[in-house]
Amino acid sequence: LAPWVPVVGLEIHAQISSNSKLFSGSQVQFAAPPNSLVSFFDASLPGTLPVLNRRCVEAAVMTGLALNCSINKKSLFDRKHYFYADLPAGYQITQQRVPIAVNGSLSYSLCIDNKMSQMVTKTVRIKQIQLEQDSGKSLHDDTRSQTLVDLNRAGVGLMEVVMEPDMCCGEEAAAAVRELQLILQTLGSSQAVMAEGQLRVDANVSVHHPGEPYGVRTEVKNINSIRFLAKAIDYEIQRQIEELENGGTILNETRAFDSKLGCTVPMRDKEGKQDYRFMPEPNLPPLILYDAKSLPANMNHQQVINIDWIHERLPDLPSVKRKKLVEQYGILPEHSFTLLNEDGLAEFFESVVKETLMKPKKVIGWILKDLLSYLKQHSLTVKESPVSSFLLADLLNLLEKKEISSTAAKQVLAELWKGEGKTPLEIVKEQKLELLQDQKELEQICQAVIDGHENEVIMMVLG
């Protein structure tokens, strides 16, 4: 049988982390009472007009720069029309013709064969980033035959990041999204928590034989975690392969991932071939951005956005942070991945290193094996750790100064984990875990043991 080449592209919607919405002043907040964060504009009251939120533009520029995109100094807004209960105006304001950023790339790493020690770096091209409005939420109440509409989310700013079909499987897609998530969180442009709907991923999947044109693609939606993303994509790839090998065809359709069944199903709401009747948004002038070169001399800096200014102030991206950790502390690359993968863990590690005599190369073992496994076992985040970096540093100092053995240290850690407020030293004293340092004392104890067991000693001396 001829091999199949799966092709995976992604459309990612990241909610912008901002105080207010993209075009109106109402607040952005998760899980607020229904319809409590809705301005006149969000409710599409007639006569209201959009006013662009500066912070949202900055977030998109930051993200574009972090993803190596060209930032379009002039971008445009458009209306995308369709009727749906959660879209009050009957259209979404988006950027279809000229988005804010284009032609970027994202590098991500994968472990080969699940071996952390063998990591490979891949790149996916970023087609574009566009600013657009989020829709409200509609909940279908089938028992009462009604739809409940909550417009709190309507109008929240989104960055749509389009990743070209350069990926080949669920694992790659998951790794790419994970890296994007870390980048967004580092920038602060989006909190990117999938569980709270701040990061939504749709996958475009198709398969073909090498050398042949790309196959028909399906769009997979309703994916709620990175883990499910990989599962959904792999399932869909398999499904398409089986379908084609059985002589069937793939429909260009939208499918939903059913996490309970672990499969994709055609979506009930078949939109069919929608014509969105795109039209320029007449109430928003073109979005003009400046850089150091093009910034007019007497321009009020509050009125404009300077791309270069933003670029200079970008924080270290995850890839840079990892490199620095490896260089500074001599840890392995895969260690740096784990450190960054866990929110707050890298900071914890650096804090411990600062407070302890122990070398970072040794500290990392304690962090990644002992501390992290405790956290995972108890489903705690680094922030929630009952063992602070200071406590751990204290403990490691005791170990480093040879006041306790490493076995004893593990025992102390277990005790510290109970979070009873005792210091490592107190626990060591309590449980008499001190290592004897005094040579004479040691001799006395040994002598006492020998003296106390004359018969055994004679037996040993006689062989």
């Binding site: 006149f40 599409s44 009251l45 007639p46 105006a89 009747r277 007449p282 109430n283």
Partner: protein, 526 residues
């Protein structure tokens, strides 16, 4: 005696000097509204709130602290502007009973300056039309239908025919506002202008109709027809009053991203005496098919007026004028289709009882809520916006629009200061005649002289010029350069002074005779 320099106060001075009280002024206007109810100019009369506003104004005058020249002045607002607490219907079933929670910026500005809001005026549904005949509350009647001047000239065709069937339209779509100003029920009114909707009824009703430059006055709260062409319009009885209104409304609004950022400086209109430095352009394409010989003659007479006064009068060409109607039709319907998409019955306005599904509820709501005109434009607009048609129609029309705008730029660059054109093809038609043709046909015919200014975003003003043979008003239009309202209004004022347009002689107004209305050529407030 005028207390403030440059304000030709009549009513304003009267208020300030205590010769008339704001409450009295308000009551008289309200009474006149009642006795001219047959005009159907008002959809909602906000009697209680108006009187309250008048009382508050009176208090301020008593304390010697009026908010400005507009304090206590009764005004009316077209019913497509949002007014908090007062119904805003757009003359449509879709918004019957809709009470907006906010004021349009222009309304807010007027109220903050102490103006007294008498009510909301009638219009064509959603401002679509050129007659003010196609709203759900019925057509507006032109006050001149009942004027001595018109009655004297009209020859009844038979015994049975009476005033009732002879009445003429106001033009549209801001007919209610024009009628309200024309019949003295208010001192100024807001209209809107997308293709001529302020200037057209102004011309037919014998009042001043100003269309400001696009981007000068905020559209926040004006329920849009065509976002890229709409402007709030100003209707008054004299050019000076229009300048005062403009001064109180213009300027950047952070809520409207299409308003210009530059500071607007309200200006005093100079009394121009020397027009020798002026260059008036006469665009030959405005000698449009269907232009009545009467109006043609009047236009020519006006040109001569300027020439004889020493101005330079030149024929110019705006070659793309003939294409503007089709271009306007495509762009207007496309935007309408988009702007009307929000009316689904879900959040506000009319909602159908049909409950089978969201889609069926939407469809029924929109069928029940919109009239044929609106639905027709939505269907056309959606057609033009389809992917396969977008380039052919929408993009093409945008290109033609740019050509039309460039025509004006070229002419103004050649040294012409102001363009002089007719506003309408003829005087106001009798209602029975007007409704013989459908809305679309009428709009296409009537907009031809006015909508190019909307396409190009230019300021334009219709000034009442003379009475037709039928005793009905005819206005002429001046079109100026972008943001050069001062020059435009200065010339308009000079022209107004020259032509001395007669005051309407209405029985009802005579009956409510007051000092305020007496002794004036055209009762103004400034």
């Amino acid at each position: 005696a005028a207390l403030n320099d440059g304000l030709h106060s009549q009513v304003s001075a009267a208020l300030k000097e205590g010769r008339v009280a704001p409450t009295e002024l308000c009551q008289r206007c309200l009474a006149l509204i009642k006795s001219t109810k047959f005009l159907n100019a008002y959809i909602t009369v906000a009697e209680e709130t108006a009187l309250k506003q008048a009382e508050e104004s009176e208090e301020r005058y008593k304390r010697g602290q009026p908010l400005g020249i507009l304090d206590g002045i009764p005004i009316a607002v077209k019913d497509n502007f949002n007014t908090a607490g007062i119904e805003t219907t757009c003359a449509s079933n879709m918004l019957k009973g809709y009470i907006s929670p906010y004021n349009a910026t222009v309304v807010q500005k007027l109220l903050e300056q102490g103006a007294v809001l008498l009510g909301k005026t009638n219009l064509d549904e959603f401002a679509m039309g050129s007659g003010s005949t196609d709203g759900v509350f019925g057509p507006v009647r032109n006050p001149w239908s009942y004027s001595k001047q018109y009655k004297e000239k009209s020859v009844p065709k038979s015994h049975s025919e009476d005033e009732e069937s002879n009445w003429v339209i106001t033009g549209g779509s801001s007919g209610g506002s024009a009628a309200a100003v024309s019949s003295f029920t208010c001192f100024a009114a807001l209209g809107s202008d997308t293709g001529g909707s302020t200037r057209n009824p102004a011309a037919h009703c014998g009042v001043v109709g100003l269309k400001p430059t696009y981007g000068l006055i905020s559209r926040h709260g004006l329920i849009p027809l065509v976002n890229s062409m709409d402007v709030p319009g100003i209707l008054t009885r004299c050019v000076d009053d229009a300048a005062v209104l403009l001064g109180s409304l213009a300027g950047h609004d952070p809520k409207d991203s299409t308003t210009i950022q530059d500071d607007f400086k309200p200006f005093e209109l100079p009394n121009l005496t020397d027009v020798s430095k002026l260059s008036i352009g006469i665009p030959k394409e405005y000698h449009a098919p269907g232009l009545s010989s009467e109006i043609l003659a009047l236009w020519s007479k006006a040109a001569d007026l300027f020439k004889n006064a020493g101005a330079k009068v030149v024929e110019v060409s705006l070659p793309h004028t003939p294409y503007s109607i089709v271009c306007y039709h495509v762009l207007c319907t496309a935007e309408v289709a988009s702007n009307m998409a929000r009316f689904d019955g879900l959040e506000y306005g009319h909602r159908s009882d049909v409950k089978d599904s969201t889609e069926s509820m939407y469809a029924a709501t929109r069928r029940e809520g919109f009239n044929d005109v609106v639905r027709g434009r939505i269907l056309s607009g959606n057609y033009f916006l389809l992917k396969q048609n977008y380039e052919k129609y929408f993009v093409k029309a945008q290109k033609v629009r740019r050509l039309i705008a460039k025509d004006f730029v070229k002419v103004f660059r050649s040294g012409v200061d102001i363009l002089l054109t007719p506003t309408t093809l003829s005087d106001a038609a009798p209602y029975t005649e007007f409704i013989q043709e459908d809305n679309r046909t009428r709009s296409a015919q009537d907009d031809i002289l006015t909508q190019a200014a909307n396409m190009a975003g230019l300021p334009a003003i219709s000034v009442p010029t003379a009475l037709s043979e039928r005793g009905l008003p005819v206005g002429l239009q001046f079109i100026g350069r972008s943001f050069q309202e001062k020059q435009l209004l200065t010339v308009a004022k000079w022209f107004e002074k020259q032509v001395q347009f007669p005051v309407i002689q209405l029985e009802e107004v005579k009956r409510h005779d007051s000092d305020v209305f007496q002794h004036q050529k055209s009762a103004s407030f400034s």
